[in-house]
């Protein structure tokens, strides 16, 4: 049985923040969950996927976040406690649903988890999704630890049902990916089926209905503020004339800093866990009891702006600071020393910084950048494209997935990237405004997520672009989740359909469609040359399963290669492919047989045919 399904109430388990969140949802009796995978939220869905196979919980990987939220919105309006999980930028995709779902509301609890990523460990931006609370009018909860995240999920479901609207649950990478002992609670009975009570004059958002619903939403915001003021997650701790208002993981850094600075008896902390609506009355009282206030929050000055507005309303003139050149930045994530030093400087507490070693004499160290795996089919495709376009000026928009790494040398494939699916739409724009050949790259999962509308646009508006769909038959980047093109039966999962990328592309009306096997280098180059010679929309589907995934499924069959004595050190292999299985020893190229997956691409491009299969 899945460890999070076991009824070990009262016991302590060493859980990842994301696991604690899943456990919290199970304890709250969640019956339905949907997602599009995205770091740092991915482990939540991975656990739900496994749990759904062992219980009556329904879970799905939806095509994208918008669909995921629509699916969950309906489930919640059928009265089933539902959860929808996504990374912060996923909320942008789901925002169209979110903004009006806030009007419509829910009957069963709906918790929408947004996993923000300060510092952009694995994201294209570090937007602060607390503003989605303000924008939509929905409540936001923010935990500070794994234990609290687990408890707070249950509270979020109760709150959602009390207000009859979705609740946003905001985490950051350090919460999602931190592990700590968590005491388990009792599990509520799971309800997975409900019914939908028709009420079109409250559920069908034509203008006349929405005008009424917006009034309801504004009333709800007032109710929510009252609840926020009474919430056990808006905590005031300690005594003293100095005030600190903080949230999320920053709270932990503040607590440690006050111990380190030995000022626990001088500082009052207001930890905001229910951050939209902000608890106005409590904040005003808090400010009034302080000489000066420091706001400690990663990201944007979301709380700081609110706190200053409350102070203005109350006519207070206490100093309130947060984001400032000498205090906190809006950039990146915080760490304990940064918070300690800002607290010391703001309140004038003497503090010695730790003695950092002088590392100026250490030589430049070779970098260890992430790289496409040995045998990755994307490398083979990029190589073939690079060969096919020799002498042609191109712009090559890329997209989000492992293959984004192809923008690094030596493949250097990738000129423009904004968001999921943008390779196709931006390709259309470049094709009309430049005289370069446009070759866009998109992965299979990303194609389903948001590449299809762009391709339809290209066909309808007759853009001259070539789209290369890198079909490795999984969502590799986030940990090999399935997508609509995956053969689920082959992975022993029953009850799934399958959508063929080729049929979709042909159905859209693309005239020139070619399927290539990227490990076959010569044929691939020829096919790509033909496709880019086509005026109009052409699509190449590069089909080859993710080698890392194949290995993990123990399906790998390729035998490793080695460099024989015929090698004349041209080094095309290293210089053009950059496969991590290569290394140089005594000025000779060698292949690490444990890394080599036997894709044979290097053997095909070696001018001396010096790379041969290793016979054991």
């Amino acid at each position: 049985m899945h460890k999070l399904l076991k009824d070990h109430s009262g016991e302590k388990m060493f859980l990842l923040g994301n696991e604690a969140i899943v456990r919290g949802a199970i304890e709250a009796g969640v019956g339905f969950a949907s997602t599009y995978p995205g770091t740092p939220s991915s482990e939540i869905s991975a656990n739900f996927f496994q749990i759904a196979r062992q219980s009556d919980l329904y879970f799905e990987y939806s095509t994208n976040e918008k669909v995921a939220l629509e699916v969950a919105a309906a489930a919640a309006n059928a009265g089933v406690r539902s959860m929808c999980i996504m990374k912060h930028v996923g909320v942008n995709v789901a925002a169209d649903v979110l903004m009006t779902l806030a009007y419509v509301g829910v009957r069963g609890g709906l918790v929408i988890l947004t996993a923000d990523d300060p510092y952009m460990f694995s994201s294209q931006n570090e937007q602060d999704n607390r503003y989605y609370g303000k924008l939509s009018g929905l409540p936001i909860l923010e935990p500070s630890s794994a234990q609290e995240a687990k408890e707070m999920i249950g509270y979020a479901f109760d709150l959602s049902e009390k207000l009859a609207e979705p609740v946003l649950f905001r985490t950051t990478t350090r919460l999602n990916h931190s592990t700590a002992p968590v005491v388990l609670g009792e599990m509520a009975k799971r309800v997975t089926m409900g019914d939908f009570g028709k009420d079109p004059f409250n559920y069908v958002t034509v203008p006349a209905v929405s005008r009424k619903l917006h009034i309801k939403l504004l009333n709800n915001i007032e109710k929510a503020e009252t609840i926020s003021c009474d919430s056990r997650y808006n905590i005031i701790e300690g005594e003293g004339a100095w005030g600190i208002i903080c949230n999320g993981v920053s709270y932990n850094y503040v607590k440690d800093a006050l111990c380190d600075l030995e000022v626990k008896d001088k500082v009052k902390i207001f930890r905001v866990g229910f951050s939209h609506p902000m608890p106005g009355k409590l904040i005003k009282d808090f400010i009034d009891g302080c000489e000066k206030v420091l706001v400690v929050e990663e990201g944007e000055p979301y709380m700081e702006e609110a706190v200053k507005a409350f102070a203005q309303e109350a006519g207070y003139t206490h100093p309130i600071r947060g984001k400032a050149p000498e205090l906190f930045s809006r950039l990146f994530e915080f760490d304990p020393a940064m918070v300690r030093s800002a607290i010391a400087s703001y309140f004038g507490i003497p503090y010695e910084t730790s003695d950092l070693p002088d590392l100026s004499d250490i030589p430049d160290l070779p970098q260890r950048p992430p790289n496409l795996c040995a045998g990755c089919s994307h490398r083979a495709t990029f190589y073939a494209v690079n060969k096919a376009i020799e002498g042609i000026e191109t712009i090559r928009p890329t997209d989000i997935g492992c293959y984004t790494l192809g923008f690094l040398p030596p493949l250097s494939t990738g000129d423009f990237l904004i968001c999921m699916g943008s390779s196709v739409g931006t390709g259309c724009g470049f094709s009309k405004t430049t005289d370069k050949k446009i070759i866009s790259f998109i992965g299979d999962s990303t194609f389903f997520h948001s590449g299809i509308p762009g391709l339809i646009n290209a066909v309808f508006n007759n853009h001259d672009i070539n789209l290369v769909i890198l079909d490795n038959q999984t969502t590799a980047m986030t940990g090999h989740q399935p997508h609509p093109g995956v053969d689920m039966k082959a992975m022993n999962h029953d009850g799934f359909g399958r959508v063929s990328i080729e049929s979709v592309v042909k159905g859209i009306g693309v005239e020139h469609v070619t399927v290539i096997r990227p490990y076959n280098v010569k044929k691939s180059i020829t096919a790509i040359k033909e496709a880019i010679a086509h005026k109009g929309v052409s699509v190449i589907i590069a089909k080859q399963a993710c080698t890392l995934f194949e290995r993990s499924l123990k399906k790998q069959v390729g035998k490793p290669f080695y460099v024989s004595d015929k090698c004349k050190n041209h080094r095309d292999c290293i210089n053009d492919l950059g496969c991590p299985a290569f290394f140089v020893e005594d000025e000779k190229v060698r292949i690490n047989p444990t890394l080599c997956s036997g894709c044979s691409v290097c053997a095909q491009i070696c001018p001396e045919h010096a790379i041969l299969p290793l016979r054991r």
């Binding site: 931190s178 760490d335 304990p336 070779p366 260890r368 950048p369």
Partner: protein, 195 residues
């Protein structure tokens, strides 16, 4: 309880996440407060994997530059690169078996000589402990148990409030049944190597 801060650096695939999990489970068994955080987004693509573990009465799950009490390096170059996490009182333990990054392997950048790495590290911190964890793991029966060898060396320093017995229990609980014996053997060989 006295706070101890540990940073583990490794290259994706070296199994450091399992070793930090074992450490965390052991701490749980002993009722030692523990928090851990990991950055492993690129682990499978040859990047650096870093874990921070904080034992004792602290709430933060990350460690600022210069504030590690111990640095455990699974790979010598990465141990050297992580020196900014240390201070003059830090104890550094590093594996001496190297995994040159691809950039160095193809001649873009030079992998420093092992003696130079050792000298640099030793000159910046209070104590450097080195061992060839790959060789010891191989001897214990499985080259993949490098993580357990290094865990042995770590526990033997007695800096963390974690006992060898609790690690044994955590290995039994956390690692695959078929590997438990080799893992314990590897763990013990790491302890002996630094005695």
């Amino acid at each position: 309880m006295n706070i101890k801060r540990l940073i583990i650096v490794a290259v994706g695939g070296q199994g450091n996440l399992l070793s930090s999990k074992v450490l965390g489970e052991a701490a749980c068994r002993l009722d030692v407060p523990v928090r851990m955080s990991e950055i492993h987004g690129m682990a499978q693509r040859g990047g650096v994997v870093e874990s921070a573990m904080i034992f004792g009465d602290a709430q933060s799950a990350i460690i600022s530059d210069g504030e590690a009490d111990i640095l455990l390096g699974f790979e010598p170059l990465e141990a050297l690169r992580a020196l900014n996490r240390c201070n003059s009182k830090t104890v550094v333990i590093t594996n001496t078996s190297s995994l040159p990054p691809f950039t160095a392997a193809i001649g873009k950048g030079i992998y420093p000589d092992m003696e130079i790495i050792k000298t640099f590290i030793a000159s910046k911190v209070s104590r450097l402990i080195t061992l060839d964890a790959n060789a010891l793991a191989k001897k214990a029966g499985n080259e993949l148990s490098v993580n357990m060898v290094l865990l042995g060396a770590l526990i033997e320093t007695n800096i963390l409030p974690i006992t060898a017995e609790s690690i044994h229990d955590a290995i039994c609980e956390t690692t695959k049944q078929a590997f438990v014996d080799t893992n314990i053997k590897a763990f013990e060989s790491g302890r002996v190597a630094v005695q």
